[in-house]
Each structure stands twice: as C-alpha cells, then as structure tokens.
Subunit: 488 residues, 2 copies
C-alpha cells in the first residue's frame, strides 16, 4: 500500500484519553487493523516488521545460549490439561475448542494452545530417558489463543504471536539458572532494542503462572503510568514433570523427575514500545527497531528539483550502503504534509535537502524524539546520521528512565496514602504511576490493596530503589518490597 491516504481525523492527545490516543496512533501509523473475528487483529506490514526485529534479536540470543527452535502441534487434547491441576484451572476459562473436523464430531475436544507446557511435557516424557538426554533446550515461535473478555490491539488479543521456551534439566539449580538467564535476555532485548527500562523481579504467589513454582517478570511503565508485564520466565519445579511423568535415569541409577522451565515474550512488546515512546504527534520508534530509520525528503520549488536530486540520490545510495534503513519520499504531496505523516509514523530521523542546502553543502536532520533540527555537512552526512541514530536510541531510553523515575512513588507507606494518591491523580487527570510498597507476604493484604485501589502487585524487584519496612496494608513487618501499579 502507498502511504498517500488522507487521514480522517487527528490523534487524540494522550492527556485527554490515553486509550484513544493509542488506538488513533496505531491506526494512523498503519500498524494493525481490526478483523471480524472477535479480539483478533491483522498485524499489518509496518506492525509486523517490528515483530520481525524483536524476533531476530531474541532468536539470536536464544541460539547463542544453546537453544534450538522446534514446532509442536497447535491443537492440544482436553485430557492433557487435566494433568496439571493449577494449569487447567488457570487456562480453562479462556480456551477455544475444536469439536468438529472434516464433517465429523471429534471424540475428544482439542484446545487451541494458550501455551504449550502440556503438549511439550507429553513429548519430553518420551524423549527424555537418561541424564545423557539433559538438558533439553527448545524454543518455539508460534501463535497462541486466549479468549479473553476485554481485548486491546497488540497488548491483549484473542490470538497473538509469541515465543515460548521450554527446557528440562537434571537439577533444580540448573533449571533456576536457566530461568534467570532467560529473564536477563528478555531485559537486555527490551532495554537495548526497544529502549524500554524494566524492573526485573519475582511475581507474588497470586500473580504466578498457572502451574509454576516461581514466576519472574520484567515490568515496564507506560506513559499513562500503568504497567505492562513485558516478559515472564518460570521455574516449574517438578510439577509438569510429575503431571507428565518426565523422568530420567540418573548416574546413580535412580529414576528422577526433571526440573522444567518455561519463558515467553509476545507481540504485546509492540504495544508496550508504542506506549512508552509515543507522543501527541503519534508513534516514535527507537532507531534499532524502526522499519525506516531515515526518511529523505527533497524540499524547495519543483523547478529546482533536478539540482537537489543530484545531491539527494547519491546520499540515498550512501546511506543504504552504510546499512541505514533509509527511504526516499518523492511523492507529489507538500513537504509539510510529508513531515506530518512521517512524524506520525515515528521515523527517527527526517533528512531534508533543498536547493539552498545543496548550495551550502549541507543537509537538515530533524529528530523525531526531540523535534530538534540539526544542520550537518553534506560530505559527512552518513556519519552524522549513523551517530544521530545511536544518540536518539540512547536518548529515548534515558527519557523513558526519567519518566519512570518521575512517576515511581517511594514515599507512600499506607493504604490510606495510596488511596489518597490514586484519587488525586484521577481528579487531576494525572498519572498515578507506580508505588513501591512493603508487603507482609499475606495474600489477603495484596488482595485488599487491589480491591480498594486497583493497584496490583507487579513484582518484587531484585534491586528495589529502596527497602520498605512495613506492609502497606496491615502495617506489620514487610517481608518483601513490591511494585504496585495499575496494569494492562
């Protein structure tokens, strides 16, 4: 598709209605479209390319750490879910079922996978016999289904794309190391590629993955102050091993259950990235993930165009040769119209050349992140662009850190204070942000905070910015320091 379509309406300001801003932005940036199937979207080319870059960065790291990709069936027999009690309770309410195929009723219903621990557990039980077969380090890129009530493009859709790693180990220690290694990889990709700072930490028991012994997550703050769980890594202990009889004969001639892990990130990373960096002008893409890093636009009167193109075309070729993802916009629309469109689409650098620039041997570089315009010598334009892309990447990360810090509250110590804080933020149409709170470890306290404030525990950060001594709810001694926030 060409980008020439007239846009029907402007983007709703973030401060007016963040959800509408989000929808306006992703529609105008042409990242997705709705479909007639409930909660299912089309990932359009500009949206899908973001996913391809995330995949590339993740997959490289998975392989470097010894994992290999495989593909397991999407359809899972109903009986498989019964084998791990917590797992079935967690996922059963959201499953779509195939009941007929090729004109016949099936004897057993088949679920569209919400995650593959059960199918993979079944297969591993057949593949693993001896300690020599361990570890098993497999990842799968796949579509998954969770038929949830409320959906939101990229963040929560009935069908989404993800990767799910599933590993089996001889010992708990090794499995726990794997769990942490993958959490670190997630944090690295999300911070370095998507310029999103995250808190690594452990989920509270009530927020654990259905069937996990321990769940760890990376949590990111959106520009409306809400949280997104951007990736999870689970130590599953022997739970699935017992459910599916995954046993191995150890060196000591004893049969033992393996220790398994699973870990996943999904297309919700796309939504998170949009909500961390976007602004009232629309999308703003970190250079490393942007499908187009630089858009070149010739300016000035058409009769002088030939002169401009004599400088424009070689520079385009040089940028391409330097590995920059550059695009030339030579359409008939006015420069102003084009500027607006590429801003909306989040391209990190707009490179303008007009007749006067050619005369002066210069180009104009307009930064999407700051709005700043920089004049660079035409002769050094490639180097200037390459350096500026890196600077923008760093700046976007820094700004996200600053935004997060500015909206992270360490001063709130009681439920009353939290309620007050949330109320004030709401009244002023402000950003409630995150609250670092002490927690005694009691599920009831956690549930009460949620009920009264809609703040849920995000995670228990490994390196909290402060230590809290008293439970925010009951005031008793805090066992953990926890991030609480409203979340997507």
């Amino acid at each position: 598709m060409k980008e020439g379509k007239a846009f029907v309406k402007e983007i709703t300001p973030q401060s007016e209605d963040f959800s509408r801003w989000y929808i306006d932005t992703i529609k105008k940036a042409d990242l997705m479209d709705y479909t007639p199937v409930r909660g299912c979207i089309v990932f359009k080319p500009d949206g899908f390319e973001l996913w391809e870059r995330i995949q590339e960065a993740m997959d490289k790291r998975f392989k470097e750490t010894g994992h290999r990709n495989a593909y397991f069936p999407m359809l899972i027999p109903e009986s498989f879910f019964q084998k791990e009690k917590e797992h079935v309770e967690g996922f059963n309410p959201e499953l779509p079922w195939v009941t007929e195929a090729a004109g016949e009723q099936l004897e057993e219903r088949l679920a569209l996978r919400p995650t593959s621990e059960t199918m993979i557990g079944h297969m591993y039980s057949q593949w693993i016999q001896s300690y020599r077969d361990l570890p098993v380090l497999i990842n799968q890129w796949a579509n998954v289904f969770r038929w949830e009530k409320r959906t939101m493009p990229f963040l929560r859709t009935s069908e989404f794309l993800w990767q799910e790693g599933h590993t089996a180990h001889a010992t708990e220690e090794e499995a726990r190391q794997e769990t942490m290694q993958m959490l670190d990889i997630y944090a690295e990709v999300v911070e370095e590629l998507l310029a999103i700072p995250v808190w690594k930490g452990q989920k509270t028991p009530s927020e654990r993955f259905a069937g996990a012994v321990d769940t760890y997550s990376i949590e990111a703050m959106m520009k409306d102050g809400k949280a997104v769980q951007a990736g999870t890594s689970h130590y599953l202990g022997e739970k699935f091993a017992r459910g599916f009889e995954i046993k191995y004969l150890d060196r000591d001639n004893q049969f033992k259950y393996v220790h398994t892990t699973s870990w996943g990130t999904s297309t919700r990373l796309i939504g998170s990235m949009i909500m961390v960096h976007g602004d009232d002008r629309g999308l703003s893409l970190p250079p490393r993930v942007a499908p187009t890093q630089v858009v070149m636009i010739p300016v000035g009167p058409p009769k002088l165009r030939e002169r401009v193109m004599a400088a424009f075309d070689p520079l385009f070729d040089q940028l391409k040769a330097a590995g920059v993802r550059v695009r030339a916009d030579l359409r008939e629309e006015t420069p102003g119209w084009k500027f607006n469109e590429w801003e909306m689409r989040g391209v990190p650098i707009r490179l303008e050349i007009g007749p006067r620039d050619v005369e002066n041997g210069q180009v104009i570089l307009a930064r999407r992140d700051t709005g700043e315009k920089i004049t660079a010598p035409l002769a050094d334009a490639v180097e200037a662009v390459v350096n500026l892309l890196e600077e923008i990447q760093q700046n976007m990360y820094q700004r996200a850190v600053e935004f997060r810090n500015a909206h992270s509250h360490l001063e709130i110590n009681t439920l009353e204070e939290l309620k007050q804080h949330a109320e004030t933020a709401e009244k002023e149409n402000g950003i409630a942000g995150w609250v670092l709170a002490g927690w005694c470890g009691d599920n009831g306290c956690e549930a009460k905070v949620k009920e009264e404030t809609k703040f849920t525990s995000r995670n228990i950060p490994f390196e909290p910015p402060a230590q809290k001594s008293a439970c925010i709810c009951c005031g008793k001694e805090a066992m953990h320091t926890v991030w609480f926030a409203r979340a997507y």
Copy 2:
C-alpha cells in the same frame, strides 16, 4: 538432546519399501516425532532447522522483490468461505471447526485456516480504494490446517507450516507477471538450496487450486519415481475480488476489480528433499541447507588423543571462523559408531584426524554423497572443505537431474503402453517414473488415465523435453504435452 541413543533397528532399504525407508530415515535422523493429535507431528530441532533455512532463502527473495510480511487471523468465519463457490467446495471437506470458546457456543463456527484467500480478501476490500493503493504485495508465514484422511510426516500433515503470498494488482498483465515471478523464485530456491531439479509448468484445469483461474507449479521427482508438487503460484483473476468486493477507483475514474494472485510453499519441501537425496544409509543433506555441514571426529588410540587435539581444535576454530557449520563429535563412542550415525543424519562431510594424519600434516574428508574419502593437507583444510561443500552441492543436484532424466519416459504414446509400463515396473519392483504424454485437453481423457493407471497429470511444462502430437488417451490431436506421474 544428545545423539547418544541406541538405535533400535536399521533403516529399511529403499528398494524393499520406500515408505518404510522414509519413516525410518526421518525418525533416525531425529527430524520429527508423532503426537497424539491425529496427523500432527512435532518438527524436532534438526527438522525445524531445515525449515528455518528454507524460510531464510525464500524470505530474502520475497523482500528483494518488494513483498512485506504481515499476519492475519488464523480463525476464519464460516460465512467467508461461502463467498467464493469453488473455494468452499474445494476446502470444506477438510476443515476443522472451532465451535466453542471460553465456555460458550459461538454464534458462527470458525474454521482453522486451510489457506487465507478469504480472510485476506476481506481485509483487502477495506484497504484498497484507489489505483494509488496498488499493488499490494504481502506474504504471511503461518500454520495451516487440512484434515486429510491419509497423512505422511512433512509431506501431508493435518497442521503444517507454510508461507502464503497474496497480492492485488490493477491489471491482469501485472498479476500474471507476479504469478510467474514467484514461480521462478520457488524454482530457484528449490534448485539452488535444496538441490532438487523441478519442472515449471501449468496445472490442468482439474488440478487447479480451488478458486484459481490458472495454477502453476514446480514438480519434483522422488527416488521412488513419484512426484511431489513442491510449490504453486496462482493467478486468481477477479474471482476473489468479486467474491469480496475488492475494487479500486482507477485513473479514468472507473471502479474496477483488482486482479489477485496467491502462491505458497510449505514444510513438504523438507519431505521432498529427503526423498530426493536420501539413500539406504539414511539422510543425505545438500550442504547449503544442512544444519551441520561438517562433523569432525578424532580417531586413533585414546593415549594419542592429546596430540590429535592439538591439530583438531585450531582447525575447528578456523572452520567456524570461515562460516562453516562445523561440529566436533568428542563422545566416547567408537569412530565406527559415530561414522554410522552422522551418515544416517546426512552430514555432507565427515572430517577425520588421527595421529598419523597429524604426523603427515593431513586430514581425511569423507563425502556423504559419494562415499569417497579424500586426503587434504592440514594447512589447506579450510579451503578444501569450503570447495568440497560446493562440489557436493553441485553433484547432488546433478545426480538428481540424472535420476530424473533416467526415469522420465518420452517413448510412451498410448494408454495401453502406459498400463503396460506401470505393470512391468510394479512386477519388477521397479520405478515407474514419469511419462511425458500428449493430451487433447479433455477432462475425461485425463480422468481415464488416472482411473486406469493412477498416473495423474502433474503439469504442462513450459519447456517440455519433447513435444507430443497425439493424446495418450484418445489419440486425437494433442493440445498440450503433459507430465503424468503417480504423486504424493
């Protein structure tokens, strides 16, 4: 998983039972496993990596020719299938249906996509308004479902992986060019990467894709003489455009239907590659697609191992640095056991070094394709390996061409002769191969050939090795020269 497992039985010889040979080979090479879901397999890491290399080669060419990837919902409303009459008739008998989700009956059944013309047609009707929106050039990598009666790993499974390109154009001419361009890309990847020679040609009307105006295919000959349709490219005319109302306002201010194409290749390419190159010792992989191109094995008495490793380790590093996919097998098993295993797994080159080789400053290179053993100077081993990999790739292709030519019959002119030929081959446990035949163009004649010989029309090759003047069935003037063969 380690490769150390004992193998239960040897591989059935091809000449004894080709299907059993195939299953033995893919199981022993650890490419796949069966699952409890009817007709669905696991693509194990060594099998999936073959697919990753095919994907990489295809995707690169799709992007170079201006296509972009997107992702559309897997679930397709039943009503969508009704919009193109031939399409629904073709696919309806094979569809699995989701009828319940999240504990409720759905109002409309949702099919698991067998292919996405309908969903994509629906979306394109909303995206395409003007000639400026054309062409739309989109590809999708996805899982698809066809609930067929008889399944065979990789070649025909209930769920399989594929890519499906879907394009929309202003004119028939442009759409037909696209159809041919993609067929050419398929032929290129299959011949250059998988070393499989193919015949490009047009399908007869009875073998057309359900809903296509014209279907083109690439057809490959397996080692049992049967044919596999390795890729198809369809010119869909205005059929789906009319079904889904995909219209654009042209420069002349008239609304016109777009012309669409679709084209696909799938994981059946893996199965084809195995059946073209494998032999009684198991898998044989063309170097360009092999996950491991060279396996290095130290030989000689353990007490001299240290001396061997002093040459072995640096060579391993050099090969890796040169971009060769090399693997060192340092397990405790005997060299003979290892040789056998890596042959079975199809690794193109086995590199042996023993104490005497170190003394003589040489290595032994054993070719999987010919069985030949070559002595190369240790100092030039990297160059020797790189050149030999290329030579093996070319040789495997040449051998496949020769096999195909040897089993392509141009001398058969009547149905009686064909029956006689097929019967003789069967009696002698020989290979019936392919028959180039004249065809008058009548569906009845084609059907009669099929009924009496199980030979079906493969395609009408663009460049047939000979021209036939009379219909093989009725003897009337031939309109086309057609490849007939038994097919998977």
